[in-house]
């Protein structure tokens, strides 16, 4: 189902916001306001925005460490994201996580992981919980094509497929691990085809086109919500910047990068569609551009002005004492009173009706095996 004009404009606005934000992050890294690792999402915006607009705000979402842009598109406070990158106390994680661990539970954004592929089993666990509670929620888990070679990928997809967990795995294939082109180290570089090994549905799509992305996720979401089990999507995408800020990117040619930047950039592509459909005028789109730039400048100013994290935070957020509540970042930092935190039925209210492996089926399998 094609997206409405509203959705097109929302996607355009969010992609511009993500693009400008990552630019600012890159600049801030050059100014040493961000240190350590910094992995920019520049160029891959269409994948995130398609998923976020096609699915529900309370669907669970997560990725690896290239995680600045997704939460912003989900509704996270850009200043607090930048503050986390700047290691300030006003950051989502009080400056304890940094670039690789951006987590915003209020917007059902679960991070933010530094170990390649480490998030893949976590997503299956969240999908398991959804099924356990009889929800119609889906979980979306992004990872890079290099992560698809980790053992965790294979172990998890097997269980997800067998137990029909409602999880959409999105391999954001930007073709290069740190500096290694995917086909150099993968017997099957077409990642979506690996789903077949688990009798699971696998689909590839053009990750540089926001509309294609949106439609793919819309369909995948329905598929999972109906209980058909997990799906492995492969978004063919491209990152315009290096793997991280320290990357001199000698593994690909400048010509290749230029090609993608000029012909494959999802933002001008969507802009052209919007103009063609007359969903907005040039001036309106320019105004949106200006507004996103402004938001990002404000985010930097917010982060610049934010206080550093004090030493009294050294021992907090590790061992939870009985009765200790979870931290709600927007409430903590901004005093927001409108925070809606995910809540679940208590252990006494919940009734588990899901039969993961009906006894009859198990018995039959055992008979068949014995025969």
């Amino acid at each position: 189902m094609p997206p409405s004009n509203d959705v097109l404009l929302t996607m355009y606005r969010k992609m511009v916001l993500m693009r400008r934000f990552e630019e600012k992050a890159g600049q801030a890294y050059g100014q040493k306001k961000i240190q350590g690792f910094c992995h920019l999402y520049t160029g891959q915006e269409a994948v995130a925005v398609g998923a976020i607009e096609a699915l529900r705000p309370d669907d669970y979402m997560m990725t690896g460490y290239r995680d600045h842009a997704h939460p912003i598109a989900r509704g996270a406070h850009p200043g607090m994201i930048m503050a986390e990158l700047f290691a300030k106390n006003s950051g989502y994680s009080k400056g304890k996580g940094g670039s690789m661990h951006l987590i915003d539970v209020e917007h059902h954004w679960y991070g933010g992981y530094g170990i390649v592929g480490g998030q893949i089993p976590l997503a299956a666990g969240m999908a398991f919980a959804s099924k356990y509670r009889n929800e119609d929620r889906v979980t979306v888990c992004s990872f890079g094509e290099a992560a698809a070679n980790q053992g965790a990928f294979h172990e998890t997809l097997n269980m997800a497929a067998k137990w029909k967990l409602p999880v959409i795995y999105v391999c954001e294939n930007n073709r290069y691990g740190m500096g290694t082109e995917v086909s150099r180290v993968s017997a099957q570089p077409e990642i979506h085809k690996r789903a077949a090994a688990f009798d699971m549905r696998g689909e590839a799509f053009d990750g540089m086109d926001a509309i294609v992305s949106y439609e793919m996720f819309k369909e995948a979401g329905e598929y999972c919500r109906k209980g058909n089990g997990p799906i492995l999507l492969e978004a063919k995408t491209y990152r315009f910047r290096g793997h991280s800020m320290s990357d001199a990117a000698t593994y690909r040619t400048k010509e290749e990068v230029e090609e993608f930047k000029t012909k494959g950039d999802p933002i001008p592509k969507l802009r052209a569609v919007i103009l063609k459909k007359k969903a907005a005028t040039e001036a309106e789109l320019d105004a949106i551009d200006e507004a996103q730039k402004h938001i990002c400048e404000e985010a930097v100013a917010f982060a610049d002005a934010a206080p550093e994290t004090g030493l009294e935070e050294l021992y907090t957020d590790m061992v939870i004492e009985d009765g200790e509540p979870d931290v709600h970042p927007r409430e903590r930092v901004l005093g927001a009173k409108d925070v809606k935190w995910p809540s679940y039925p208590s252990g006494q209210e919940l009734k588990v009706t899901w039969d993961l492996e009906p006894a009859a089926a198990a018995a039959k399998a055992e008979e068949k095996g014995a025969a």
Partner: protein, 413 residues
């Protein structure tokens, strides 16, 4: 207003860079994100992006030129704008590499508790390693036991709890409140060997280097002799002859019984603890000096001691002493008071632990209760063998001796 393009840190370790190529020239239109130059860093060749929109007004660092990170390399602004160099550098300068933070702020409360303060070790460590378990040290300090006087039964001579407990029972060092039995019948008990602990050995070694032979140390004490002299008077009443020196000898013996730590002999690789109190008397003879021993002096009455000393001295002058009569004992009393000697320092008679040099009893002006009064004073100088005893030990003995001499009734206890 024109803004400066500052050379960014293109890698975490970059300190400066060389502009290898300008991709735009002065007058070109620039937009944010556009690559405007190529730069060679410590790691690789990278592109420099513009952060602002505008026109490239001026290039400061030409191709081939270098600049430090954070310094201006060009200006961007509106066409035709004048450049105010200072105002142009409006961007926050790049953060300098910060040194690792010094832990000057107080650490938060949940840090592991600081260790309890360790009680000061006992003072008796003359530079040598005294091996004792922490518990043994604590008990020794508590009970006032001198660790250096104990031999450890643990590995490497470590003093452990039971050693200290035994020593505390056996040696009422600081508290002379128990009076050991002096009278015994039957055989004289033999001396026992005292294992020489690590520290004792080291002291012996070191001090013999300083004073080869017997390393002496010296302690002097002044004794008020009124009471002791009065004892002489009592003897007259009993129609027996007792000299001041006899009283002194008896006092020396009684004090030794009450302070056995001094009742030791140096025996090369070991020290012998004597269990009998035998006091040597220095007797001047023609061309020399000999030291007959009064055995069991603590058990004999003053009259017996007096008679024995007279007899021994007499035979000494006639060179008629048997060897066993001038060997043994742990202390010698040498009295030159009759020669009017005020005080002197004697040489120890090996293998004794000490020698007491006694001066004359003479009236002296002394301060008592902040008043000048006249007392019969006598000087006692102890020479100690540092291989066997230390200053504190000698001092404690002298205190007891002084107490007995100044209060002779104490000999009754």
């Amino acid at each position: 207003m024109a803004t400066a393009v500052l050379l960014p840190a293109l890698s975490p370790t970059m300190k400066d860079g060389k502009i290898t190529k300008w991709l735009k020239k002065e007058g070109d239109k620039i937009s944010s994100g556009m690559a405007i130059a190529e730069c060679e860093t410590d790691k690789s060749n990278l592109e420099i992006e513009a952060y602002d929109d505008g026109v490239l007004l001026k290039i400061l660092v030409p191709e081939g030129g270098s600049a430090p990170v954070g310094s201006p390399i060009a200006y961007i602004g509106k066409a035709g704008e004048k450049i105010d160099a200072e105002a142009a550098v409006k961007a926050v300068p790049p953060k300098k590499d910060e040194p690792a933070p010094e832990p000057t702020a107080p650490m938060p409360a949940k840090a592991p508790a600081a260790s309890a303060p360790i009680p000061a070790p006992p003072a008796a460590e003359a530079g040598a390693r005294l091996r004792a378990s922490p518990l043994a040290r604590a008990i020794a300090k508590d009970q006032g036991v001198d660790l250096s006087s104990i031999s450890g039964s643990g590995p490497s001579g470590r003093i452990v709890k039971k050693d200290v407990e035994q020593a505390a029972k056996a040696t009422p060092a600081a508290k002379v409140s128990t009076f050991p039995k002096a009278v015994r019948g039957g055989q004289r008990p033999e001396p026992t060997s005292v294992p020489v602990g690590g520290m004792r050995k080291v002291i012996a070694q070191r001090l013999t280097e300083v004073k080869p032979g017997v390393p002496h140390f010296y302690l002097t004490i002044e004794v008020e002799m009124e009471e002791a002299m009065a004892v002489k008077e009592q003897a007259r009443a009993l129609e027996t002859k007792v000299s001041v020196n006899d009283v002194i000898v008896k006092a020396v013996a009684v004090a030794l019984r009450r302070f056995p730590r001094l009742n030791q002999q140096f025996a090369g690789d070991k020290i012998l603890q004597l269990h009998t109190v035998d006091v040597g008397i220095a007797v001047a003879i023609e061309d020399g000096l000999i030291t007959p021993i009064v055995k069991d002096a603590d058990q004999k009455g003053l009259a017996e001691i007096a008679a024995e000393i007279r007899e021994l001295a007499d035979r000494a002058k006639r060179k008629a002493l048997k060897p066993e009569e001038y060997s043994g004992g742990s202390i010698t009393v040498s009295n030159l008071g009759m020669y009017g000697i005020d005080s002197f320092i004697g040489v120890i008679n090996p293998p004794h632990a000490a020698l007491l040099a006694i001066g004359e009893v003479a009236k002296k002006a002394v301060i008592r209760n902040d008043q000048i009064v006249m007392r019969q004073m006598m000087s006692v100088t102890l020479s100690g063998d540092h291989r066997v005893i230390d200053g504190a030990v000698g001092a404690q003995y002298l205190q007891i001796l002084k107490g007995v001499l100044e209060h002779p009734l104490r000999m009754l206890f």
